[in-house]
């Protein structure tokens, strides 16, 4: 169960921005934190590293998301997955 922390940079345009946040909150694998300017911290919890990495890409393709940057990834809960 890898746990990844990311920073998501959102488009400044309000409609895109709000739609992107809504899409992120709809995904139960994503815990969205408090916005810091255009950046949103989030934690991703997935069953496998494969799924986690795919989720990062998925988020990057959400309309209104400009960038997704990784902060960290921890696989210590599932050492075999590392």
């Amino acid at each position: 169960m890898p746990i990844a922390s990311v920073v998501i940079t959102l488009d400044a345009r309000a409609t895109l921005h709000d739609a992107a946040l809504a899409a992120l909150r709809d995904d139960e694998r994503v815990e969205v934190g408090n916005r810091v300017g255009a950046r949103v911290p989030a934690v991703l919890e997935t069953r496998t590293a494969d799924e986690g990495e795919a989720l990062v890409r998925e988020i990057a393709s959400v309309p209104g998301v400009l960038l997704v940057e990784l902060v960290g990834v921890d696989r210590s809960l599932d050492e075999g997955d590392a």
Binding site: M1, I3, A4, S5, V6, V7, T9, L10, D11, A12, E31, G33, N34, V36, G37, A38, R39, V40, P41, A42, V43, E45, A49, D50, G52, E53, A54, V56, R57, L66, L67, V68, E69, L70, V71, G72, V73, D74, R75, S76, L77, E79, A82
Partner: protein, 801 residues
Amino acid sequence: MDRRAFLKQSAMAAATMAAARASFGQAAAPPKPTLPLAPANGVKWDKAPCRFCGTGCHVQVGVLAGKIVAIQGDPKAEVNRGLLCVKGYHVGLALYGKDRLTRPLLKKNGVQTPISWAEAIDVIAKRVAADPATFAIYGSGQWTIPEGYAALKLIKGGLGHNQIEANARLCMASAVTGFLATYGVDEPAGCYDDLDRCDVLITWGNNPAEMHPILFSRVIDRRSRGEKVTLIDINTRRTRTSAFADRSLLFKPNTDLAIANGIAHLLVERGTFDKDFVDKHCAFRAPDDKKTLQGKAISFDDYKRMLAEYTPANVEKMSGVAAKDIVYLAELFGRRDLRITSLWCMGMNQHTRGTAINSLVHGVHLLSGHFGKPGDAPTSLTGQPSACGTVREVGTLCHALPGGLVVAKAEDRAEVEHVWNVPPGRISAKVGYHTVEMFRRFSTPSDKGGDIKTLWVQTTNPGQSLPNVHELFEPSRKLADKFLIVSDVYPTATTKDADLVLPSSLWVEKNGVFGNSERRTQQWFKMVEPPGEARPDVWQLLAVARRLYELGVPGLKDKDGAYLFDVKKDGKSVPVWDFAHFFDVNVDEALFDEYRKLTKHHKKDLAPYAEYTRARGLRWPVVEQPDGSWKETRFRFTEGEDPYVAKGKGVQFYQSVTKDDRAQIWFNPQEAPPESPDADYPFWLCTGRVLEHWHTGTMTMRIPQLARAMPHAYVEMSREDASRLGVQDGEEVVLETRRGKIELPVWIDGRGSPPPGSLFVPFFDERLLINELTLHEHDPFSKQPDYKKCAARVRKKAKAS
């Protein structure tokens, strides 16, 4: 709270702090860096620069039970301030591919057979001792600084010749010659801080959104907070970077010189250049008849006359970039109220006119005075983690010595001989073979001039990354008296047919020091054990050197008869060549502290090794302060920043080739490339990288997630060309140049979009080896081949009957 909840809470805290801290260049103090993923869960953390590209992001590596289980962007690192690109997700996994090389393998009767390390070292040493002059080492910008330094010292100090090269010759040699021709000394004056201050960012044939995403995000983040940063993408195909650009200017391959000359022409013609800056700090230069890197001095009037034909209308004809866009660029450079940063990488360097275009872009900045202030800088980027630190600064090239010294100068050789305590004359003045020539000679029969017979490759994969491998690499594998030694971590296109394969330690399985694109030297300690019998490359070099010493090769002794690589602890020599004692002393520290003695000559001063163990890298020159601390330099040649600029000078190019503190503004004409599309081969073919894979994919193709995300190479083609050829997206085609052909699928409107008449193929896939098709013609000064343009044709694959 259970461990899972604790980790999630810690992760959110880390992300929140990173989001706040990521306000690069802002006045507000960032949150105090902490490590939220604390040792409470049993994970032990330590710092290291990322193993992949030349950006030099720092990571915190979490180790549990001898294995890497967590990676975190280092919140204390100025380069990335806690953030990583998607490759960071996998940097720890790069160590754990299932097919790691774990034992030395010697080819016996055509089969690679496990042998002991002792036998492997003996085989190499006896072969080298029998014929030292025909032995060469080929490394890379993935060598650590101590590894590269040891290899260089073995060849130049131990064997007395200069047959050492590194694959950085293939990716940034033209940047080096561009800096040398302009400033008299290598490497950028600016640094990443420029990205926080520029008003305009121009990417010249560069795609940082994919290749240097952490740097690119600094600019995008500023824009997302409402700052105005104009992004101009000058390229031969649309990329992810183009998608963010305010203007994306597509030019015909090879015509970037015309664009730069067009900007300079308008600056001069309209009088909008920075006359004061030019009068005080610059001189003018043009190619000479002898075609030397230094060229000849010209007057401003000469320069103006040479530029005269580069009118906007003519440049449009040459380059395909609209005249109004050339005017726009010139108007931007003509403004004093803007700060302009230029970035480039392989697009400008892998160019038969690479030195020339590098010099021209520097020239545009100098001519317009967009230099020396934060945000005003021409800056080249590198693709490998220590292309600058190990190759450019240590000097692991056939003409170079450490610290910017060169073998051609007697005083430089003497300085190095003094530090190495070897007799005068030990270092040869004869320049060795550059990369293409080294491999050409290795692939040529010995009785026909192929005078490189034994080649030791470390930390790179030339069997895939060389251009035109049919000619430069593959023949050597069929010649009986050629012997290829390869140190690597995984099987590669190069290990496949090697005569001797040595298993190496990777990244945090050993100590290391890298130097990134902004002159930042970064250190790390070993954190985990390598698999099987894998050992550090630096130990391999020192073990061979010791065996050569034992065999009586005279160069392996210094003037006093001591072993050339003698390492002492508490005044006593440590037998570091014996692996049982290798870690009795920090060999990296010993080599680094010897090397740093040679870095002062060209004012590239490094601090003692111990300083780097505490820092997240320091940018040279690093100079000791009266209080005993060590201060790095952000902006070179600028008063108040660079300690070597005299008071009152403002800007001082103190390494000037003309010895008058002036930088050189070059004129270089637009010229035709060695190969252009024609009736038989009507397309331009360009090669390059993709986000998922790093270089030849040796590491990233073994990470299942990355391999699945980008499983194989492809050819990008415009929709118009695909329609004309009757080719569908995903359909296999035959791609052919005068050097070979491969079959691969077409990608239309993919990640990159070449214009009609152009194709793009990434080079990470050894099964679809595009470098069987590329051209090995190279820049006359840098000797860097041009991977970015050759003529090609495409046809539909015939259906099986």
